[in-house]
Amino acid sequence: MSEPILQVQELNAGYGDFSALEQASFSVDHGQIITLIGLNGAGKTTLVKTIAGLHKPTSGKVLFMGEDITRLSAEKIVSRGLSMVPQGSRCFNRMSVHDNLLMGSFPKSARKHAKETLRHVYELFPVLEEMKKRPAGTLSGGERQMVAIGRALMARPKCLIFDEISLGLSPAIIKDIYKRIIQINENDKTSVILIEQDTQRALRTADSFYVMLKGKMVLSGKSNEVDAEMLKKAYFGI
């Protein structure tokens, strides 16, 4: 086994005096799906924001494909191949679906292949091609989430982070979106990090899991060997 694609080592981060992340460590192997689960306020979003360069850590290290990316800016991290689908299906509302997707290939490294990647994204989400001229602001929640995923794929990521992808979506749509995520993982060998509150579904999809509580990693292991009782205790901190 080669070295992990993403390694997070003892990451600390916070907002003012409040520390949201304490010594958080985890790693993702090439082509692996992992999930980070935890309650609201456990520090999951802070963790991925810090990894993606949208929030500055106070200490610790993030290594992506062996390179230290801890202090790199967000756009440099994206062009290295680490993309994020932010929480809450965030689209550029006044731009068309097509333009939203093209925005995803904003980094220089992705622009050369924009046409090719776009075709790939439309194959994955045919419904987006049908509505490519519509402003993203007029789409439904599930469609907007697809736009956000497609946009992240446009940067040709080697590792993709989904922050609470199922938030506010209907079960049928969540199921469909999870199917696409598995497809992305299998076809492109993209490593995937799922940040979730929907524990059951995330565990079924992921190879391994990490549980966060109050900024700390409290439990980790392989998804198929999970002990329900221990998981519950770690999840709620009882």
């Binding site: 756009e75 689209c91 550029f92 992240a152 940067a155």
Partner: protein
């Protein structure tokens, strides 16, 4: 832009060669009327105002309408420009060109330094901070002996430029400013700006460098606001801290952009023309003018939220100076 996205039918984008010819002809016509003296001094007085306010409006529109940075402190650069010209001509006996050049230099340095502090703030906090900084400069100039404190400075050069020359200069600044905005919006930077305006977090998540985008826009706005402000005070001949650094500059920019149409390149032209004529009419009713301007702004926001230009473009399905971009992958 908004009209184009919301409509289902196709929108006629008037950006072709004929439009370019009309624009060049219009500019050339204005230029000729200035040098040949067809336009009377009174007409040129209006034209100077209109050209300068178009420039100021375009710049404020670029900041607020396209980059989402609603600055209430653009008067800072107008004041710096006026004082640079006054100091260079009166104290150092240099020409007006040197005054404007120093103004641009000073503004650029101030803008660079301020960007480090101001860009840490967003939304309302950014707006208020820009205003506070401008007020701080006003206070500084009020108590600074070198610039004659509150008694103000006059701009003295021999020979003083004629009104026709000032008019041509304003026209040039206005045209260059509009070309700059138009071109900027069609580059990758413009694309990044549109994304930032819609969702700043999502924009940085796809790799838009928010800081550098803001900096480019802020610097361009500072430079052109300086140039327009400098010419305004060359035309006026005298500057005080209150009228150099006054909030009324930004009030007029907001009026022009809101009336004309936020986020449209054509909007500030319509807004500036209306503003200059309204100002002239309202000058007869001192004390009422700001109230009337305020009422008009509120009415426009209520009934024409996209401004005159925005509403016209949506109703008649056309677009001038479209900011449609995408250079790296063509629409099908």
């Amino acid at each position: 832009m908004i009209g184009k996205k919301l409509g289902q039918r196709d929108v006629v984008v008037l950006d072709s060669i004929p439009m370019l010819i009309i624009c060049i002809a219009l500019v050339f016509g204005l230029y000729l009327s200035c040098i040949t003296g067809i336009a009377s001094n009174n007409a040129m007085r209006y034209m100077i105002q209109i050209f300068l306010f178009i420039t100021l409006g375009e710049m404020w529109n670029l900041l607020s309408g396209f980059a989402g940075m609603t600055s209430l402190g653009q008067q800072l650069y107008i004041g710096l420009a006026g004082y640079s010209v006054a100091v260079m001509t009166t104290k150092f006996h240099m020409g007006l060109g040197a005054g404007l050049a120093v103004g641009v230099l000073v503004s650029t340095i101030v803008a660079l330094l301020l960007s480090l502090i101001l860009f840490k703030m967003q939304g309302m906090y950014f707006s208020i901070s820009t205003w506070v900084v401008a007020e701080a400069f006003a206070t500084l100039f009020l108590s600074w002996k070198f610039v004659e404190q509150g008694s103000g400075m006059t701009i003295r050069v021999v020979p003083y430029p004629r009104i026709g020359e000032i008019c041509i200069l304003s026209l040039m600044i206005c045209v260059v400013a509009m070309i700059t905005v138009y071109c900027l919006l069609r580059t990758k930077v413009g694309l990044g700006l549109t994304a930032m305006r819609d969702d700043i977090t999502a924009a940085s998540a796809v790799g838009v460098n928010v800081f550098s985008h803001k900096l480019i826009v802020y610097l361009i706005a500072a430079v052109f606001t300086t140039l327009a402000g400098g010419i305004f005070f060359i035309n006026k001949g005298i500057i005080y801290p209150e009228n150099g650094f006054g909030i009324s500059w930004t009030v007029s920019m907001i009026f022009i952009v809101t009336i004309g149409g936020t986020g449209t390149v054509g909007g500030p032209i319509v807004g500036a023309v209306i503003y200059v004529f309204l100002q002239e009419i309202l000058a007869r009713y001192p004390g009422w003018s700001n109230i009337i301007l305020g009422i008009i702004t509120i009415l426009v926001i209520l009934f024409l939220p996209t401004g005159i230009m925005g509403t016209l473009q949506k109703k008649l399905r056309f677009e001038i100076f479209s900011s449609k971009r995408f250079s790296f992958a063509k629409h099908k």
